[in-house]
C-alpha cells in the first residue's frame, strides 16, 4: 500500500487484575482511511482505544505515531501527537456554549478572544460540513449536536487521528447518514478515523478496513470491500466452543410468564423497548441474547415492577390448579369473593360455595386444606410495585446485572443481605436475624462461599462469591420465575459452573428461568430457547439446540433485521 502509516501498535497488552483486556494487539492505521474496530461486548475495543488516547497506560507494547515511538500518559500527551477521542458518553459542560466547550483547556497564545474562536469553529464546521451554532448552550442541544461539538473539539486541537467510540448508538438513521458524510470528508482531508462499533451494516457502509477483536485478541484486519456480513460475524463470534453444560429436555413446559406488546420509553421519551411479546415457560430456560444496552436490563426491570410501562401486559400464571387455598397472600374478603366466582373446588372435585357460611367456618374449611383452586391463577403484574407483586403471592426472583448496586447492599454482611427480601415478615417492629442467619450459613456451606464471616461486608468478597450470595438468596425463596441478568459476568470457570448448575436445578423444579447472557457459547449450551433482542425490539426467537452462533450474531447486529416475524 502506498498510503502513509499514521499509527502503529505493537504488542499492546493491558491487564486488569487477572483479566487480560488486550493481549498483544498489533494494529496499523493509515492516513486518510476509516478503520472500523469490530467486536462483541467486553472484547477490549474501548480499552485498546483508551490506551491510544491516554486514559489507560499499556502494561506492555509500543505505540508509534508517524513512525516514531511515543509515550502517551494522558489525554494531553495524546493531543500533542494529534490523537483525539470522542467518547460514547459526552464530556461537555452543560452551561457553556459550544465554542466555550471547544476551547476549554486549550492553551493558546494571546488573549481569550471569543470572536476569533467562534470564527475558527465556524470555519472548521464549514470545511467538513457540520451544522453548528458556536454560541448555543449545550443544554439546548440535541444528542447529535452535542456529538458534533465533541468532534469539533477534537479537530480544533489539531487532531489527525480521530477515535469515535460507538458514535451511532445514540443517533437516528438520518443523523447517522450525516455523520458518515462528515467522516468521509475528513478522510478525504487526510485524517485517520477509527470507529468502534458492533453494527455490521455500518461497518460495511463507511469503513475502508475492519479490524476484528475477540476476547482481547486481534483476530484479523480485512479490507471492507473484500468481506461480507457472514465472514465478519464468524470472525467476531468465533468457532463454537463445547462447554459441557448438562441440558435436559424441558418437562411438560407450560406458560408461566406471558409478556404482550410491551412498550417502554426512557425519561427523555426515547423508545427503549418496542412491542416486546414472548412467553416464558415453566421448566425451561429462556435465553435473551443481544448487544449490551439493547433493552435487556429495562425488560427485566419492567417485569420486576421497576419501570413505568407505556403500554403492554405482563401476565403471570400462578400454578395453583388443584393446590389448596391459603391465607398467606389473600385476605378473607378476597377468598370469599373468589369463592363466589366459583374459583374453588374440593378434593372430590365438587364446586365450593361459601354461601351463608360464617367467617369462622370459612376459615376453618380453608385452613383444613380441602379447598382447592380450580384453575391456575392469572395475575397481571403491570403497574405493580415490587412489594405489591410479592404481596400477591407471585414468587418472582430477580438477579440484577448490578449486583452490589442493586441486588445487594455492599456495606452489609451476608446475614443482613439475606433479609432484604424477607425482613418485613411478622408484625413486630424489630428484626428477626435468626432465620436469615441460618440461611446465610446454609448458602455459605452449600455454594462454598469464601468469606471471613457472615458479617463481613459483601463488597469485600470476590465477584464470584458476591454472585453466589445473590443467586443463593433469590433461589432460597422457591421462585416460580427466576430472572438472571449476566449472572456469570466476571466469574471464574468454577463459579460459573456453580451458577449454571443452580439455574438447571431451578429448571428441573419447574421454574421459568429467564437468562440474559452475553457469551453466545453459554447461551447455546444452557438455554432451551433464545430470544434475540436488538435496539429494544425482538429480532428472533430461536431453538437453542439447533441454531448456530452466526445466526444469532446476525440477529443481534443487523439493524435492518429488526421487526421481522418471530421464529
Amino acid at each position: 500500500m502506498e498510503k502513509q502509516l499514521a499509527l502503529q501498535m505493537r504488542g499492546i497488552t493491558k491487564r486488569f487484575g487477572p483479566v487480560v483486556a488486550n493481549d498483544h494487539v498489533d494494529l496499523d492505521v493509515y492516513e486518510g482511511e476509516i478503520l472500523a474496530i469490530l467486536g462483541e461486548n467486553g472484547c477490549g475495543k474501548t480499552t485498546l482505544m483508551n490506551m491510544i488516547s491516554g486514559i489507560y497506560f499499556p502494561d506492555e507494547g509500543k505505540i508509534f505515531v508517524d513512525g516514531h515511538e511515543v509515550v502517551i500518559r494522558s489525554p494531553k500527551d495524546a493531543f500533542q501527537h494529534g490523537i483525539g477521542m470522542i467518547h460514547q458518553h459526552f464530556k461537555l459542560v452543560d452551561l457553556f456554549t459550544a465554542a466555550e466547550n471547544i476551547v476549554l483547556g486549550v492553551k493558546e497564545e494571546g488573549r481569550y478572544n471569543l470572536k476569533a474562536i467562534n470564527a475558527k469553529v465556524a470555519q472548521i464546521a464549514e470545511k467538513y460540513g457540520f451544522h453548528i451554532d458556536p454560541q448555543k448552550k449545550i443544554y439546548d442541544m440535541s444528542v447529535s449536536e452535542k456529538q458534533t461539538v465533541e468532534i469539533i473539539k477534537v479537530l480544533y486541537r489539531g487532531a489527525d487521528i480521530l477515535i469515535l467510540d460507538e458514535p451511532t448508538a445514540v443517533l437516528t438513521p438520518q443523523e447517522i447518514d450525516k455523520l458518515f458524510q462528515v467522516l468521509r470528508r475528513m478522510k478525504a482531508d487526510g485524517k485517520s478515523i477509527i470507529i468502534i462499533t458492533h453494527k455490521l451494516n455500518e461497518v460495511l457502509a463507511v469503513s475502508d478496513r475492519v479490524a476484528i477483536l475477540r476476547k482481547g485478541e486481534h483476530i484479523a484486519t480485512v479490507n471492507t470491500a473484500e468481506t461480507n456480513e457472514a465472514q465478519l460475524t464468524e470472525m467476531m463470534v468465533g468457532k463454537k466452543v463445547d462447554l459441557n453444560i448438562d441440558r435436559e429436555l424441558p418437562r411438560s413446559p407450560a406458560p408461566r410468564l406471558v409478556v404482550e406488546g410491551l412498550n417502554l420509553d426512557d425519561s427523555e421519551g426515547l423508545h427503549v423497548l418496542r412491542d416486546i411479546s414472548f412467553t416464558a415457560n415453566g421448566g425451561e430456560i429462556l435465553g435473551i441474547a443481544g448487544i449490551a444496552g439493547s433493552g435487556q436490563r429495562e425488560l427485566l426491570e419492567s417485569i420486576a415492577g421497576l419501570q413505568p410501562l407505556k403500554s403492554g401486559k405482563i401476565i403471570f400464571h400462578n400454578p395453583k390448579k388443584d393446590k389448596p387455598v391459603t391465607f398467606f397472600h389473600k385476605s378473607m374478603k378476597r377468598v370469599k369473593e373468589l369463592g363466589a366466582q366459583g374459583a374453588f373446588h374440593d378434593r372430590q372435585g365438587k364446586p365450593v360455595s361459601f354461601d351463608g357460611m360464617a367467617t369462622g367456618a370459612v376459615r376453618k374449611w380453608v385452613e383444613s386444606g380441602d379447598v382447592l383452586f380450580k384453575e391456575d391463577e392469572i395475575i397481571d403484574l403491570r403497574d405493580k410495585t415490587p412489594l405489591q407483586i410479592r404481596e400477591l403471592g407471585v414468587r418472582l426472583s430477580f438477579v440484577p446485572e448490578d449486583r452490589l448496586g442493586m441486588g445487594l447492599v455492599g456495606s452489609m454482611g451476608i446475614t443482613d443481605n439475606m433479609m432484604l427480601r424477607s425482613y418485613r415478615k411478622g408484625h413486630a417492629g424489630f428484626l428477626d436475624r435468626k432465620k436469615p442467619r441460618a440461611l446465610a450459613d446454609e448458602i455459605i456451606h452449600e455454594l462454598e462461599v469464601v468469606t471471613p464471616g457472615v458479617n463481613t461486608p459483601v463488597r469485600r468478597l470476590s465477584g464470584g462469591n458476591v454472585q453466589k450470595v445473590l443467586v443463593g438468596r433469590e433461589i432460597a425463596f422457591a421462585p416460580k420465575v427466576l430472572m438472571a441478568a449476566y449472572p456469570v459476568r466476571g466469574l471464574d470457570i468454577n463459579s460459573s459452573y456453580t451458577i449454571y448448575h443452580l439455574l438447571n436445578k431451578q429448571k428441573e423444579n419447574g421454574v421459568a428461568v429467564i437468562f440474559v447472557g452475553e457469551d453466545l457459547d453459554v447461551l447455546l449450551a444452557l438455554c432451551d430457547r433464545i430470544l434475540v433482542i436488538n435496539s429494544g425490539s425482538i429480532t428472533g426467537l430461536v431453538d437453542a439446540r439447533t441454531v448456530t452462533k452466526e445466526e444469532i450474531g446476525l440477529l443481534m447486529t443487523r439493524t435492518d433485521y429488526a421487526r421481522k416475524e418471530d421464529a
Partner: protein
Amino acid sequence: MSLHHASEVREPLMHLSKRSAIHPAKAWAIRLAAIVLGLAVCGLVAFLLIEKIQEKPEKIWDFYNAFIKGSFSTSRKFWKFLKNLAILLGIALALTPAFRMRFWNTGAEGQTLMGVLGAIAVDFYWGEALPEPLLLALMLLAALLCGGIWALIPALCKAKWNTNETLFTLMMNYVATFVVSYFLVIWVPNGSSSLPKMKTGKLPSVGGNDYLLIILVVLILTVGLYIYLNYSKHGYEINVVGESVRTAQYVGINVRKVIIRTMLLSGMLCGLTGYLIAAGLDQTVTTNSVGGQGFTAIMVSWLGKFNPLAMIVTSGLIQLLNQGAAQISQDFNVSGALPDVITGIILFFIIGSEFFINYQIHFRGGKHAVQAGGEAVK
C-alpha cells in the same frame, strides 16, 4: 502503574491508593497519633503566641494540663462538662438517622431552635394558667412538633421535587432565627428583645442536681437510638436507602416514605433537645439559644461514624477541647480567639487522620507496588 517497560516512564514520587480494609486497632493508632501530633502543634503555637510560656518554657505543661483542668478540676466543672456533652450529643443523635440515610441534614441548629421556641411559646402563653406537669407535657409536645415540622418541610420537597437537602436545611436555620426574632419583638414590648426567664415550666431536679435529668434523658436516647438503628425494621430500611436507593427500590422499599419518616424523626429529636434546653436550662429563648451546636453536632456524628455509642466519645472529646480552651484563656490571660485556634488545630488533625485511615501512601521504590488495576490516584 509501576509495571511499564519503557525506561523513560518514571513512577511518580508518591501516589495514593484506597485501602480495602483496615484493622480497627491500626485505625485507632492512626487517630491517636493524629491527636498527639495535633497537641504538639498546639504547644508550638502556644509557645509562639503566649508570652508567659516564652518566659518560662516549663509552663507548657500547665498549658496541656488545662485541657484536663477545664473539665475535671471541680465538681461544678465536671457537671457542666456532662451537661454540655449531653446537649451536644442530643443534637448529634437527632442528626444520625438522617445521616445514615445519606440525607445531609445541616439544619439541626434551626430545628433545635424551633424546639426551644415551641416550648417557650407554650410557657409564655399558658405558663400561669396550667398546672406544672401538664404545662411541661404541652411544652414537650410543642417542641417535638416545631422541630419535626422544620425538618419535614425540606424532606417533603426532597421527596417530591428532589431538591438539594443540604442547602434547603441550611437555609431553614436562618428562617428559624428570624422567626425567633419576630416573636421576641412581640413578646418583649420594651424593645430590648431580651425575654426574661420564665418562672414556670422548669424540669424538676433529680437527686438535687439540675443537670442529672437531662443527662439521663440523653443517655436513654443514645441507647434507644442505637437499638432503633441496628435492630428495628425502620433502622434497616434507613441503612438500605442510605447505601443504595436502587437496591431499596428493587426490594420494594418505599423510598419517599422512608425519607419523610426519618426526617420527621430527626427533626423531632432536635425538638426534644430544644425542649431540654428550654425547660431544663435556659427558661427563655434567644436567637442564640442553640449557639452553633447544631453545626458542631454534624462533626460529632461524622467522627462517631454515625454510631450513637461512639458519639458519646466524640461529643465528649469536643466538649473537653471547648472547656480546656476556655481554661487556657483564663489561666494565661489570653484573648478569646486563641482557644478557638487551638480547638481548630486539634480538630483539623482528627478529621485529617480519617484520610490516612481510608487511603494508603506509596512512595517511589517502596515495597508496596500497586497491583495492576488497583485504584491508584496520582
